[in-house]
Subunit: 107 residues, 2 copies
DNA sequence: AACTTGCGCAACTCAAAAGTTGCATATATA
DNA sequence: TATATATGCAACTTTTGAGTTGCGCAAGTT
């Protein structure tokens, strides 16, 4: 099944993996040591992250280093963009409200 | 169960709901009409979104208008921030690489 | 060549989540 | 007051996903 990035980051373990390898690439075994679960469980998370291209493998002998794909993470940023204006508006409205209240009380 | 926003936005229907009500507040019935599913199904999605405070109810007679809570959506933005520098770096590196190649070929 | 190590794939179990049907409650309207 | 409408809650079914065990393969090591 083709995964999408929203589903991929919904899992706390996968978010932790992303945070880890954003610092430096790691092998599946190295990741498994960080979490209290079997290597195979981590391997499944890796599969999900790989399918939606949030991480990229780099073979080195019999080891595979998984790198963080920042470019893909930007898709979130683009999705969020549709709401960004929205929350800026709400903040402006709050600001205006506070200003109004202040003006009234100091009058 | 306490929901988290990552899990909340992992569902396509819930993302669609957010996109809809970011434009203007809607009642559960109005939402259900937009999607090919029962009102109760939509109601469950609303519950999830409400529990993690991505939407806020506003009673109006017997109707309930659900508003988008942009402030909560910002939590994503904050989570993304840890990667933002990361992808900017990768872009700079790509830019440098391209510049290097261009310099070599035009030599 | 035999052994060890790192990894992926498949089958299985179990828990959670999506969606349905049915019902109770509150507000509006006749 | 009787009826229709808007909604939430509970029980149930079905699907999905996380995690485990077991296996096979490829790359190093002895």
């Amino acid at each position: 099944m083709k995964q999408d990035i929203f589903q991929a980051i919904s899992d706390p373990t996968r978010r932790a993996i992303l945070t880890l390898i954003a610092i430096r690439a790691l092998t599946p075994n190295a990741m498994a040591e960080k979490f209290d679960m079997t290597r195979q469980a981590v391997s499944k998370h890796i599969k999900v992250l790989h399918e939606c291209e949030l991480i990229k493998p780099q073979q080195s002998g019999r080891e595979i280093y998984y790198h963080f794909n920042a470019k893909k993470m930007q898709e979130f940023d683009h999705w969020l963009a549709q709401f960004r204006q929205n929350w800026e508006t709400q903040f402006n409205q709050l600001e205006q409200l506070l200003t109004t209240i202040k003006t009234q009380t100091t009058k």
